[in-house]
């Protein structure tokens, strides 16, 4: 296939220069896209987190704090399924791509006009709906070299031609009949599509897998439990803390063979540092065994991994919650920032952990530099930074036979999958999160597949202050909140922040909000058709207009009460989340709409001749650095 630079809008002059630097295409193969460079082009949004550093920051500033109040709907589109809409839209070369919840149809739309170009409908197995634990969500697609990649709930990774919507390859990576499913948005790094699995509660053994982007063939697979050979731990593995060093810890930190059904699935986010050539991601909790049947740290569950993307070989690892008792998947996003810490600039990884502490690591070594609570936390007293371990409040451990009240945070943690953003202008992180505590007790009976068992009654409720969610600006250097907006419901949407110093996020009670990135003042809000748990993005259309896009459609773990008719009278439905969400149906029903907003023409200052960002310079510049 020949590259078609003319298909690109005229403004990517700089990028064309970049392409020419890459040299002529050899033979029939197209010149490879430089995904890192494309991610710096703020007219597009080519990967789920905007860039490899996962900052979800856009250099666009047509919409700014002064004019965002005039924002209005430009066009909308329905993906046709009223389930949880967690998916991030991608914008590549003037086309917006969005993948819906089960059955995971992929739509390509003209990013400027909303014209539907094509849709691709995978043959997703209907039985997979019964298997997914937490609504049948999908978190989005990825792009590279003319192809769109995404996962289906029934464990296929699919490559589709970005221009035509034709399937290029389709790789089956797991079996829904064994409890496996896939919900995460892939990341493409150096020609490899990185995907992970879901289904820890079905005994699934977690993995991250790299697929060749041209063929779908597995290049490597790194398991989250088991012997070093399976976890891809070798000579190059240099964890900072001694407790992570030793042979086959993914076996020896479990009772015999228990690691085989140990969980540690990978359904969140992958970040990449091209300079260090390391990818970073987190693994989920230890599945299926009750805690007293899995004494030990249960490595490598709830762990941040740094790996070589070429081979999968692990460089370092850090376990956030040894011997997890809380269902604390550490799949949350990892932001790669360069921050002034002490007397120098440190290359760090910032991870907002489930248990409520903001972790800042040296991303080269895995050394924990700081861990500061960002929400009400009583279950973990502190983090011993020197030794790299949490100090747990044993009195609040949920054990059989005990009734424990006021555990903070509740099972979903202070923050779940919903990704944060970082602005190099304000030097602040923008963090959507929940604010829930819980009561916990053994209940007499649960029942599944013909078998009664001992259940737990988990009753979640608003944390201190009576609010259930928060959108906060966090200073990762000082370890303090710059400002916070308290929300009635958990803030289950992602966010984006721009050079216009505006941050966007959505609420479950159907508000899409723009706030001043400096002050937290709400500058604009729009009432959508359904609650928002999606991920906003921004891009510039072929008409020179800056657009902001967000999926609205409530669901996910906290939202199934609104879209799946859970009984709000049963407080411990949806693993206890129903108790905290009983009033949600009074605000929203399910939805399936992509909203795209823009300023009215009258409010737009004519765009300058040059792009407003560094995207066209051809220099690889880390958005996380100062502009």
């Amino acid at each position: 296939m020949i590259r078609h630079p003319d298909r690109r809008a005229h403004w990517i002059l700089g990028l064309l220069a970049t392409a020419s630097l890459l040299g002529p295409a050899a033979g029939p193969a197209r010149a490879a896209d430089d995904l890192a460079a494309m991610s710096q082009d703020d007219h597009q949004w080519v990967m789920p987190a905007k860039n490899y550093a996962s900052t979800r920051y856009s250099g666009l500033d047509q919409i700014n704090a002064g004019n965002v109040g005039q924002l209005q709907v430009a066009w909308t589109f329905s993906v046709g399924k009223d389930r949880g809409q967690e998916s991030v839209p991608l914008v590549v070369d003037g086309t917006l791509y969005v993948v819906g919840p089960f059955p995971n149809n992929l739509f390509a739309l003209d990013a400027t006009t909303g014209e539907l170009k094509w849709q691709y409908a995978p043959a997703t197995d209907p039985a997979s709906q019964g298997v997914a634990c937490c609504d049948v969500v999908n978190r989005g697609a990825a792009y590279d070299n003319g192809k769109i990649f995404f996962n289906t709930l029934d464990n296929h990774t699919v490559a589709v031609d970005a221009k035509t919507g034709q399937e290029v390859w389709n790789a089956k990576l797991g079996d829904i009949n064994r409890g496996e499913s896939m919900t995460m948005a892939p990341l493409v790094v150096k020609g490899k599509v990185l995907v992970g699995n879901s289904g820890g509660e079905f005994g699934v053994r977690g993995w991250l897998t790299a697929l060749d982007e041209n063929t779908g063939k597995i290049a490597w697979r790194a398991y989250s439990t088991g012997p070093d050979a399976d976890v891809l731990i070798g000579d190059g593995f240099k964890p900072y803390y001694p407790q992570f060093r030793g042979k086959d810890l993914g076996v020896s930190s479990w009772p015999p063979d228990h690691w085989k059904i140990g969980g540690g699935t990978v359904w969140g986010w992958v970040s990449y540092d091209p300079e260090a050539n390391l990818i970073y991601y987190g693994t989920a909790n230890a599945g299926t065994w009750n805690a007293n049947q899995r004494p030990g740290d249960n490595l490598w569950t709830t762990t941040i991994f740094a790996r070589d993307p070429d081979t999968g070989a692990a460089r370092w690892a850090y376990q956030i919650t040894p011997h997890d008792l809380w269902d604390h998947d550490e799949i949350n996003e990892n932001l790669l920032l360069d921050l002034p810490i002490g007397d120098r600039t440190r290359k760090v990884l910032v991870h907002p952990a489930r248990q409520g502490y903001m972790h800042v690591f040296d991303r080269a070594t895995g050394e924990l530099l700081s861990a500061t609570p960002y929400d009400t936390v009583n279950a973990v007293t502190s983090i011993d930074v020197e030794h790299g371990r949490p100090v747990v409040n044993e009195a609040l451990n949920p054990l059989p036979g005990k009734t424990i009240e006021n555990i903070c945070p509740a099972a979903p943690g202070s923050k779940d999958w919903q990704p944060s953003a970082w602005s190099p202008r304000t030097k602040l992180m923008y963090v959507p999160h929940q604010h829930l505590c819980m009561n916990w007790q053994t209940s007499e009976v649960g029942y599944i597949a013909g078998t009664p068992y001992v259940g737990a009654t988990v009753d979640m409720f608003a944390g201190p202050g009576g609010y259930r969610g928060e959108f906060m600006a966090w200073d990762p250097v000082k370890g303090t909140k710059a400002w916070a907006i308290q929300e009635d419901f958990p803030v289950w949407s992602g966010t984006v922040v721009t050079a216009g110093d505006v941050a966007f996020y959505g609420t479950m009670d159907r508000w899409f909000k723009a706030v001043d990135a400096n002050s937290g003042k709400v500058l604009w809000q729009f009432r959508t058709g359904s609650g928002i748990i999606g991920q906003p993005v921004t891009y510039q259309g072929a008409d020179g207009t800056q657009y902001v896009a967000i999926m609205a459609g409530v669901g996910g773990w906290p939202g199934v009460i609104a879209n799946a008719e859970l009984d709000p009278r049963v407080r411990n439905g949806a693993l206890g989340f129903v108790g905290a969400m009983q009033d949600l149906p009074a605000y929203t029903a399910g939805g399936s709409t992509l909203y795209v907003f823009a300023l009215p023409k009258s409010a737009v200052v004519p765009a300058s001749a040059t792009p407003p960002t560094d995207g066209g310079t051809g220099q690889r510049q880390d958005n996380a650095k100062s502009p």
């Binding site: 019964g130 005994g203 969980g263 065994w289 007293n292 029942y447 599944i448 013909g450 078998t451 799946a564």
Partner: protein, 279 residues
Amino acid sequence: MPSRHKVLAALLVLITGPAMAAAEPAELRVCADPNNLPFSNAKGEGFENKLAEMIARDLDEKLAYVWWAQRRGFIRQTLKAGLCDVVMGMPTGLDMVTSTEPYYRSTYVFVSRADRQLALDSISDPQLRQLKVGVHLIGNDGFNTPPAHALGEQGIVANVVGYLIYGDYRTPNPPARLIEAVAKGDIDVAAAWGPLAGYFAKLSDVPLAVRPIADTDAFPSFVFQYDIALAVRKGDQALKSRLDEVIDRERPQIRALLTAYGVPQVEEPATGLAGAAAP
């Protein structure tokens, strides 16, 4: 055109008449797992299938099934979604449904090869520290089966083997792998829910001993015996009352059915296990 009107009217009567005149028998709509013997399967071979037929006959209603794997969300997506009106077996005391009167009570049991002569029935038996013990694992929504917890509380961990209750759904009756593992000698003993254990022990070519788990008083947090009832939608008192009457009328037949399937039945109240009837 009056005549044409008459013809039309007559046709309408013909089309709609019979349905109105002789109403279809009401339907007993049951949601069931198509692949989970001894409870139910799509061929109607489970004791819950037979019980559903018995109840439909008693009520003079037509039996209709909605098949759905019994996993998390089963009740939400079937009974609560209005796809059906009855689920044939659920423990009493579950919040999400209204239960009928229980129609049997069973117990967790130990299953071992008869030729081993282990005589295992106490959850505190020291043999459990040496033997390879299989348990079902439920998932991570809080908890697991009572014997799995009780073994864990005693520090019996390293010799415990977990079998996922969900198993591999491509194979028949996935929870049965635990009992088959005993027959094959993969494990020495299984701690399993009685109906499943009793049924597959009965079918096993290798003679298996099924003994109710005793001495559970030491673990007051965990219940080892459960009353099982039919479940209807929360608040559907009318159907509950009708089904309660059927259970009353059919009690001897129900007991015979369960016995034929090898379901260990214990008497209420559970003051001990004297009433336990191992097959």
